[in-house]
Symmetry: C2
Subunit: 235 residues, 2 copies
């Protein structure tokens, strides 16, 4: 019986995956990755040229992505059976399967939904550089100093909740911006922090873009993160 090994690929640049992830990927017999039906998928794009020529590729195509709201019961009703199906298929592959994951698998990653459906002894996770670390590196400034508190928020939270938490932290990372950018902007303004917020799009990729929030116009919904750098104690 093989193992299901999820490798974190890091923020975007293939050279930022770990030596271990690279070793597992280039020696893989079966490589699986999530994608939207009909799209190549970002994880697959990141490993172009690294999958062995004789490896099998198993694309795991989401039955739904942004067409149904996350809090609509129909969303979980569609996704649950999808994860059940693939957890069973990966476990029954008859050999090791390497599953690709952007960023770090245990930090808001889709693989967690397969992981929770697999026996512990059949699954292994190789951590990766989270997307947010690629983003703060792209700004050229440290995210936290000394006693700084860092808060990571999903932009899916209600505006008042976002504003309250943005006002109550030193350093900030906001993920899952997508359709929530206008609400997030209002929350940052309500917290009085527009001047210090930065948007990073496509961190560690060819089209990386770093903009001050107050100067940002069109923003790429999926590959974007908002940051505020901590300003804590330093010698």
């Amino acid at each position: 019986m093989g193992k299901v090994i999820c490798i974190g690929l890091g923020p975007g640049d293939p050279e930022l995956m770990s030596v271990k992830a690279h070793r597992l990927l280039t020696g893989a017999g079966i490589v699986a990755y999530f994608r939207k039906a009909g799209k190549p998928g970002q994880a697959r794009r990141m490993v172009e040229g690294l999958i062995p020529g004789d490896a099998e590729e198993w694309p795991l195509e989401y039955p739904v992505t942004t067409e149904i709201a996350l809090d609509d019961p129909a969303y979980n009703a569609a996704l649950g059976p999808f994860y059940d199906h693939w957890a069973a298929r990966l476990a029954g592959a008859g050999g090791d399967v390497v599953v690709l994951c952007e960023g770090d698998p245990f930090f808001y990653g889709s693989f967690m939904h397969l992981h929770s459906r697999l026996p512990r002894e059949r699954v292994e996770v190789v951590p990766g550089i989270p997307g947010m670390a690629g983003c703060w590196t792209a700004t050229g400034l440290p995210i936290t100093w000394g006693d700084d508190v860092l808060t990571v928020l999903p932009a899916t939270l209600p505006q008042a909740e976002l504003a309250r938490r943005i006002a109550d932290t030193d350093a900030l990372v906001v993920m899952k911006i997508g359709r929530n950018l206008a609400k997030l902007r209002r929350a940052v303004a309500a917290a009085g922090r527009d001047e210090s917020a930065w948007l990073v799009e496509y961190a560690a990729m060819a089209d990386q873009k770093v903009t001050r929030l107050c100067e940002a116009e069109a923003v790429t919904p999926y590959f974007s993160i908002l940051l505020i750098h901590g300003q804590g104690r330093r010698p």
Copy 2:
């Protein structure tokens, strides 16, 4: 004029450094790393066998570590000139210098104090897997799901402040535990979360240890992180 390139080494296992960090390290002419005087240093230990035989090694020995409290003005008075001195030496090396950094350089890393003293065009940072990602991977459980909020706290904060923030987050990471473990335990208890807190020592190293906080006895001060996993939305 050379560059000062800081490479994040990740949480502990040398195979978890990025392919890029590995390439820069194994091709380095000068390798610099922080350490406590008279100790080998954890960053140096992690790269054993990877530094080219003909490379120069420059240990940057802290003039003070835990002998002076962080909020004592004498601490910054000792550290400021130390960072000034080494920023000037690294910039004047006459070639590229690779600086080692555990975890991710811009996430509470010592390199930030050299970075802020160097001209932007002379310095480069290669992100790494933060220690906390090694820790949550070691627990075998995801840290954040769905709309979970993640808070990262330094245990150096006052107890009441720790308790307030621990009660007000879904997922939690506490860094810099050191001498603050007793205070941190009281704060976790005051927030009513002792049952869900985990301590991870030496993540991704040979002596890795994962314990529930309520069962933890002696804890290694330096290489330990406290975690509470988020329990958010999932299909």
